[in-house]
Amino acid sequence: MSALAVMLLVPTAAAIALALAPGGVFAALINVGASLATLAASLVVLADRPAPTELWLIDDLNAYLIVLTAFVMTTTAVFSGGYMGHEVAAGRLSAGALRTYHALYQALNAAMLLAMAANNVGLLWVAIEAATLITVIMVSLYRTREAIEAAWKYFILASVGIALALFGTVLVYLAAQPVIGGGLEAMAWTVLQARAAGFSPAVLDLAFVFLLVGYGTKVGLAPVHAWLPDAHAEGPTPMSAVLSGLLLNVALYALLRFKMVLAGSRAAGTPGPLMIGLGLVSLLFAGLMLYRRRDLKRFFAYSSIEHMGIMTFAFGIGGGLANFAGLFHMAAHSLAKSSIFFAVGGISQVKGTREIAALSGLTASHPALGWGLVLAVVAIAGAPPFGLFTSEFLIVSSSFAHAPALTAVFMLGLLVGFAALVLRVQHIAFGAATPSHAGTAHQATTVVPLYTHVGLVLIAGLWLPAPLAGWFAAIARLLG
């Protein structure tokens, strides 16, 4: 039984087990254990990659994303162990809901890994659809009016997006079919990329429009982002961490795969401008939206939109450096953003509120959480020596040379967002401390994953392992 199979089956099995088994203390432990096992399996997969089969593909692009996903899922599982326990203890959540949560958590793990390991556009689509439905239920977990509405909004918008993406997928098959001649062959990444040269550019262009709007909805690009802030704000915080840190990446991964196919075709011109446009719109829009936010989680959800815009812009600009930066940014952002949500979860539990206005002086009252948040936000704001500085440096410095005007707008967007982030984090972390909520949450399960992620992002900013850099470079070439 190959490591790949283990990697996919463990979470599936765990999901079923957690659904059937009575909840309670062990559920959290099983959750962490299963995630750990998955992580181990994914590492094995990374170590010796299985050759691509008709259904499965592990290559430079998804190898590191798979490990990243497994890793963040593990740390988040640790965090959610403490966090959700406290939620139940505080009576905000029923034990049954907790069981659902754990089961869905592993199911989501399986779905995301499936989406990325699949060598088949259809399978990818199914996996993303599944992940969407799972997260919809997770968002509605609290059963409050707000949660229901957020989930409803998420469900409708995402389903439409997914449907459009499916049509795009069909179009890609339509383009491939005459060249490759139908069958699963015509839906395999490997084959599609290899023989894209012969596809009809007209169909591919049309397909990419649908894919961009469809998967772009899942990525959270403005103006089709609407589901994202509310889903983040109303769902349980660990889910927000996974949503921002991983699920958006998965959707972006799908877009990248298709972009690679188009890059192989003659008419690779189309994706660039469209992605640049949507990227810039998302960046500026999200940056401006940050100023009016009152809810901490929604605030950082918008920052996720901003960063997805940054990545999309980078991939749209294309070229070795920008693509490299985009891939690097995906990893760094998912680590940093999830750590931010860990901190936010901890804060909302110790302070008993998520209202930005009601939070202040955290570094004075809770140094570990407060400085953790400051570090994570500094990292997400793209300040050195954290990883996101590297990618933003590469994007600006490489794209300004040949697209000054666009890059100027991009720089403007970065600054607008930066100013907002610093403004708010200063308000939250500094100043006179606000009174704390009675019964502080389990600090360790929050603080340890938080600082682990921040530490990793820090290392990424200073030193990048050679093989990883090698993969980035290779993919950057394929992305055109």
């Binding site: 469900f155 499916l166 079919q177």
Partner: protein, 224 residues
């Protein structure tokens, strides 16, 4: 492909596709919920027959499965369920539209035109059939989306959504030799979609006794 039937199979395929599109126009025109549901059932039936015809023409067995799924689910179960739902929930039967029917129709026509413009450049290496089917499918998808954004009633929005999926399915049917994966996923998604809709209607029902979305949307994320 069977010999000697080229002309005929083209006509039939075209006819069924056109029926689907026509039904979509009907959905836009229709103001009453039960009428919309029936039209949707009609559209699904046309889609099913299109799938069946293609299955026979291309003798692609999996398309029979698709046809079966479409007939049973979309033309049967779902409409019935919806009828039952609106009956049970005692909601208003009339659908209030955002913009008048006339402008909506005009927009729909424009969309169809756009779809045709988009599809024409597709290379001559493909048979006219797929191109036509594609144009029809694209139009149906766009009309479905149009329905979703011009109707205020939840059920009508659900119908619009499934109209989109019908369009996708039409495309799938048109393409030669598309493996089963996609149909399965379509069926799968539609099923789950319906289930989830049901669940949601429950929540929504037990919280705000109506399906009309704009009550639901009075809270919009953040209070201003």
């Amino acid at each position: 492909m069977r010999p000697g039937l080229a002309a005929l199979d083209y006509d039939v395929a075209h006819l069924s596709g056109a029926l689907v599109l026509l039904a979509a126009f009907g959905l836009i025109y229709q103001r009453r919920l039960p009428g919309m549901i029936n039209l949707f059932a009609l559209q699904s039936a046309a889609l099913g027959s299109a799938a069946a015809w293609q299955a026979w023409v291309q003798d692609a067995s999996q398309l029979y499965v698709t046809a079966a799924i479409v007939w049973s689910l979309k033309a049967g179960a779902v409409p019935l369920g919806l009828h039952w739902l609106i009956h049970r929930l005692q909601t208003t039967r009339a659908v209030e539209t955002v913009i008048g029917i006339g402008p909506t129709m005009l927009a729909a026509v424009a969309l169809v035109a756009l779809a045709i413009v988009l599809v024409t450049p597709i290379g001559a290496d493909r048979s006219a059939l797929t191109r036509e089917e594609l144009a029809l499918a694209l139009s149906v998808i766009l009309l479905g989306l149009l329905i979703m954004i011009t109707r205020r009633h939840a059920v009508s929005q659900v119908i619009g959504f499934m109209c989109i999926e019908n369009g996708v399915t039409l495309a799938v049917v048109g393409v030669k030799g598309m493996p089963l994966v996609v149909e399965m996923s379509v069926a799968f998604s539609v099923m789950v979609a319906c289930i989830l809709f049901g669940i949601f209607f429950f929540h929504i029902r037990e919280r705000f006794d109506t399906l009309d979305l704009h009550f639901l949307e009075s809270f919009r994320g953040e209070d201003r």
